[in-house]
């Protein structure tokens, strides 16, 4: 039985070690923020953080994540008290269908935790592994820049 540290809680999971994290998050732990897009690490919808690094949870088996701190959008804040990244995406109305958004948010979170003052070019480069079929890219980039402002304490 594997133990996973998800959003600060240590949880026991039943799944076999080779099971991708995404299925454990969604099917076993009921954390549905991370999405199944392609299952091949090509679209970014399943992105979560492991020790602050963005990873594709659809191709990362739980066996390699023992003892590492996993974070999902659920760990960024709550409906009542959204975190800066969530607040910024709401302000910018950056979601259309919303399917790609949790992955975008987590990769952006990793970027801004390293550098909350990331430039637009840095944001674009960081989000390169993520696909959005609605075409909300401009708003997503604005939202991430806004999240950086919120993290730096600008209102």
């Amino acid at each position: 039985m594997a133990k996973l540290d998800v959003n600060g809680r240590v949880l026991e999971v039943q799944a076999d070690g080779a099971t991708p994290l995404l299925y454990v998050l969604r099917d076993e732990l009921g954390l549905n923020a991370a999405k199944f897009g392609c299952g091949l690490g090509q679209c970014g919808a399943c992105t979560v953080l492991a020790d602050g690094e963005a990873i594709f949870s659809c191709i990362t088996p739980v066996s390699v994540l023992q003892g590492r701190k996993i974070r999902t959008v659920e760990g960024l804040g709550t409906v009542e008290k959204p975190g800066p990244m969530q607040q910024a995406f709401i302000e910018a109305q950056a979601a259309q269908c919303g399917y790609c958004i949790p992955g975008m948010m987590m990769r952006a979170q990793a970027l801004l935790e390293r550098n909350a003052g990331a430039s637009e070019n840095e944001i674009r480069a960081a989000l390169q592994p993520h696909l959005c079929r609605c075409g909300t890219h401009m708003r997503i980039v604005h939202a991430v820049a806004r999240a950086g402002e919120l993290m730096r304490g600008k209102s």
Binding site: A50, E53, A54, I55, P61, V62, S63, V64, Q128
Partner: protein, 195 residues
Amino acid sequence: MEGWHAPALNSASPSPVPWTVETLQTYLRHGIADLHAQSAGPMSEVVHDLSQVNEADLRALATYIASLDTRSDADRAKLREAALARAGASKAQHGNAIYDGSCADCHNRGRGEQGGALELPLGTALTIPTPRNLATIIREGIVPPEGERGAWMPAFAGALTDEQLTELLVYLRALSGQPAWRDVAGEVKKISRGD
């Protein structure tokens, strides 16, 4: 001895990799030597006490202890190879589990199918004398030049620790049918440091 079993030092030594004068000398000085378990229990006190002994005396002691093992060099070499092979197999087993979770979805399909990638026993990077190319591809992925189409593979630098990447490399190398790479862990460490 004080609740601990003291393993034999003569030809009955159970050490998976047989001791040599050099490894004994290192072990008696530091309490740890490559390819051997570290000192524990009362042996830790022995190592501590030996810190007062000079290198020449330690060498003499190591030479004497090594002489107790009268097995032939060939027999000792065979044991050593077998132990290292078992260690490699256990790494490869972990690597196999990582392959199943991280690589198999694409690489088991082959190029013929949508989303499929090359079956790895056909990969050149597995056959060359160094794990460098393969390690770099796994860490950084394959990304076409900006704005261009091309083959794409996700980067695993954030997902796999150095140790896990090492296990995966050992497993993949075995698929090539070539002899195992030397010091994969050391190479991985260098690459992740950017050397």
